[in-house]
């Protein structure tokens, strides 16, 4: 099935972006707001992943991109690959001019996978708060690299410096060079989102 998505027309001049939400409530509002607040994004498309039970119970309506393995840092590579293929289909269908792919959490892993498989069509990719081990579960042909677009690995948790270093090392093992950034202020969600938006804007302007 094709991914459902929301399509936001340009509110500012900038590169087109496809924003991949984190796992959690069925909303793309927060990641969309962060990307738009960057001031560097033009048209923005925000796809929705798969529906799931919320992690802690049976309430339906949570969204995710793939199946994580509870109690571990592992995840199911079959469902992850499915999400990556659906994301590449979206990139193909939309036909945007070298869009930036921006993802959070599981969405960051999917964005990276799609960007690596569509390197010639994607302008850059920003991965925020991906679980490092999940990067290794991307399809082998994606990790084989080739000529990947510019990659920014970002983390906002207190262990962010280690997180991005871990991510960078894992991708480096596959010959994929990535820039890193981590948030250091830790002074509230709003400030964090603002800092992430600023970094997205700076990155997109630079690349």
């Amino acid at each position: 099935m094709k991914l459902a998505y929301r399509d936001f027309p340009s509110t500012a001049s900038g590169v087109p972006a496809i924003v991949f939400h984190p796992e959690g409530p069925p909303s793309v509002d927060r990641p969309t707001h962060m990307a738009q607040s960057s001031g560097a994004v033009g048209r923005l498309v925000a796809p929705f992943g798969d529906y799931a039970f919320y992690p802690s119970g049976m309430e339906v309506g949570g969204i995710c991109w793939y199946r994580a393995v509870p109690g571990s840092t592992s995840a199911d590579p079959i469902s992850l690959t499915k999400a990556v293929v659906q994301a590449t289909d979206l990139v193909d269908d939309l036909g945007l001019d070298r869009p930036a792919l921006v993802g959070w959490g599981q969405g960051a892993v999917v964005a990276l996978g799609a960007a690596l498989l569509r390197a010639g069509q994607v302008g850059s990719v920003i991965c925020v708060d991906a679980i490092p081990a999940h990067l290794e579960l991307l399809p082998p042909s994606a990790l084989a690299g080739g000529n990947p677009p510019p990659v920014l690995l970002a983390a906002t948790d207190p262990a962010g410096v280690q997180t991005v270093a871990d991510q960078q090392e894992r991708l480096g093992g596959h010959g994929i060079v990535a820039s890193v950034w981590h948030w250091t202020a830790y002074d509230g969600d709003d400030e964090r989102d603002k800092a992430v938006a600023e970094r997205i804007g700076q990155w997109l302007t630079d690349v």
Binding site: P26, Y51, G57, V60, A68, S74, I78, S79
Partner: protein, 574 residues
């Protein structure tokens, strides 16, 4: 279609890209050179869902050594995708809450749901085959005991009631007079935060228990055959993706390996009606069917599964969705077939909705695709509750038209476009020439019934389970029946196509009361099974939430314990 013209499905592309062992189309690995002696274990467990890991816990409780072989890349099986509920009679939660669940009516309820064609309340064993009734008796008698035992050994504490949104215990799926305890039989694991754990948490706890006792869960290890000596199982042949090796099992081999929902061939061979795969793991391809046949197992109920619905465009054997159409959102919503006619109370639980696709009427499987039709109010009020997309989303699986005629035209065009890409096992479907008129009539009738609050056709909104799945009454719905609201046919109307699917099949070799797989002259020594890979204790029924996991855990634990005790090495000071 020529080979070159074949457009790869999403699942085929996923399989090709992921490059995992044991994917469709990849043959078995070569046999390893036999210079090494086979590994020695007391019990080999196949699969790593609730049935398999309960078997491991049962075997470990006897002091046996256990190894778990999981074909897939991650542990947990279909359990890990589920709510993790076990349907257990007279369980400790019910006892603590003072809910009586007496044996005879509980057995009558199970018998009626499981074998409705044979059920006779006046007959011995309620008209069931003695072996079928014996399994139900065992399930009643030992279910709560096994749950208590799993708690006592700290494998998993199944002490959390499965609660509904309205703070009531979730109801069973049938309110027959025999059912004296409609609420309380669904129980879940207690999560670390004290709340109820879902399937992932259930697996995490059982896997942690096994790991702490030295049991390894070997991922990507597919059991492809059995070793037999004098008619008894002595081990398995396992393909680790590079070679096939032998593991010796001194006590026995317990299969908890899932059904065959994702084997198109086995679906076509055994299931009755149009079934388009399932929402369980893509690795559920029925390995025990071939293995059990070669071992001389007796099979039963090969036509059975745990039925549900899925969006037509979302069905794919190697690219399953995380969730099926678990509940159908919306009050201003009805479901019609290609004739434009309703066929089910739309708010029923997934099992009843799934079964409606199997009806053969008018010389065809007339419900093989059902159309969930709803108006703009419902789209906005229930947007984001699968399968209704979030408000404002572009969603390919939703067909929209203005008014009934516009919707019928758009739906007809969509179905014509899908003609060459229908899911395996589902014949192409076209709308009847009178579909638009019939749909208009169905909506008008539905609207009238909604105004009156009475569904004269399917009693929608009369069962506790419908309310549990629907959730709270919509704020703007002041109709007498909170599960019904008139559709506005003057504006946009939307349709989503649904096909009949299954969480997984629940058919395979027959088992005895200790989970032994049966041959023609009794149990096959050293061979056990539990869960979706064997003939379901519940026959063709689904008494309540947790009917999949409950028997899997109970008979899995009993089987593992039996296999452990059977090993001559257990208790011998090895």
């Amino acid at each position: 279609m020529t080979e070159s013209a074949h457009r790869l499905s999403l699942g085929e592309r996923v399989a090709e890209l992921a490059e995992l062992p044991h994917r469709p189309g990849v043959g078995p690995s070569p046999t390893a050179s036999s210079t090494q002696a086979p590994e020695e274990h007391d019990v080999v467990v196949v699969g790593s869902g609730a049935a398999a890991l309960s078997a491991a816990a049962g075997a470990l409780s006897t002091g046996a050594s256990v190894v778990v072989c999981e074909k897939g890349p991650v542990p947990g099986g279909t359990t890990a995708c589920s709510g993790g509920v076990a349907h257990i009679y007279a369980n400790a939660v019910m006892q603590a809450a003072g809910i009586p669940d007496p044996r005879d009516p509980a057995l009558a309820y199970m018998a009626r749901v499981s074998h409705p064609g044979a059920y006779d309340p006046e007959a011995p064993g309620y008209g069931l085959l003695p072996s079928d009734f014996a399994l139900l008796e065992t399930y009643y008698d030992r279910g709560a005991e096994v749950m208590a035992r799993l708690g006592a050994i700290d494998a998993v504490h199944m002490d959390a009631p499965w609660m509904s949104w309205d703070s009531q215990m979730f109801p069973d799926y049938y309110e027959f007079p025999e059912n004296l305890a409609v609420r309380g039989r669904g129980i879940q694991s207690v999560a670390p935060d004290g709340g109820a754990g879902n399937g992932g948490e259930l697996v995490r706890q059982l896997a942690a228990f096994a790991a702490a006792r030295g049991t390894e869960v070997r991922l990507g290890h597919r059991v492809v055959d059995l070793n037999l000596e004098n008619g008894a199982v002595t081990g398995v042949v396992v393909d680790d993706g590079s070679a096939c090796r032998t593991l010796r099992a001194h006590g026995g081999v317990v299969f908890g390996s899932g059904g065959f929902a994702h084997s198109p061939e086995l679906r076509e061979r055994f299931l009755r009606g149009p079934i388009a795969g399932g929402s369980g793991l893509p690795t559920n391809t029925g390995d025990l069917v071939g293995i059990g046949t070669r071992a001389g197992a007796v099979f039963g109920g090969m036509h059975n599964g745990w039925w549900n619905q899925q969006v037509l465009e979302a069905v794919d054997d190697y690219a399953t969705s995380v969730l099926d159409v678990w509940s159908v959102p919306g009050d201003g919503m009805l479901m019609v077939n290609r004739l434009g006619v309703r066929a089910i109370g739309e708010k029923r639980e997934y099992e009843s909705r799934g079964r409606v696709h199997h009806i053969f009427a008018g010389d065809e499987y007339v419900n093989r695709v059902m159309f969930m039709v709803y108006d703009q109010r419902t789209a906005e009020r229930y947007g984001g509750r699968y399968p209704i997309p979030p408000v404002g989303a572009v969603a390919d699986h939703v067909v929209t038209g203005t008014g009934v005629a516009g919707l019928a035209e758009a739906l007809g065009t969509r179905l014509a476009g899908l003609r060459s890409s229908m899911p395996v096992g589902i014949a192409p479907v076209a709308l009847d020439t009178n579909f638009a008129d019939s749909l208009a009539s169905s909506i008008a009738k539905f609207n009238d019934m909604a105004e009156r609050g009475q569904d004269d056709e399917f009693d929608r909104g009369t069962k506790a389970v419908e309310f549990a799945f629907h959730g709270p009454r919509a704020a703007d719905n002041s109709m007498p029946n909170p599960l019904m609201y008139p559709l506005d046919v003057g504006g946009p109307l939307h349709a989503i196509s649904l096909v009949g699917t299954t969480f997984d099949t629940n058919s395979g070799p027959r088992i005895g009361t200790e989970g032994q797989i049966l041959g023609t002259v009794g149990p096959i020594g050293g061979l056990y099974g539990a869960g979706n890979c064997v003939d379901s204790v519940f026959g063709e029924g689904y008494p309540g939430g947790g009917s999949t996991i409950g028997p899997g855990m109970v008979f899995g634990f009993l089987a593992g314990a039996h296999a452990g005790r059977r090993s001559p090495r257990v208790g011998s000071g090895r």
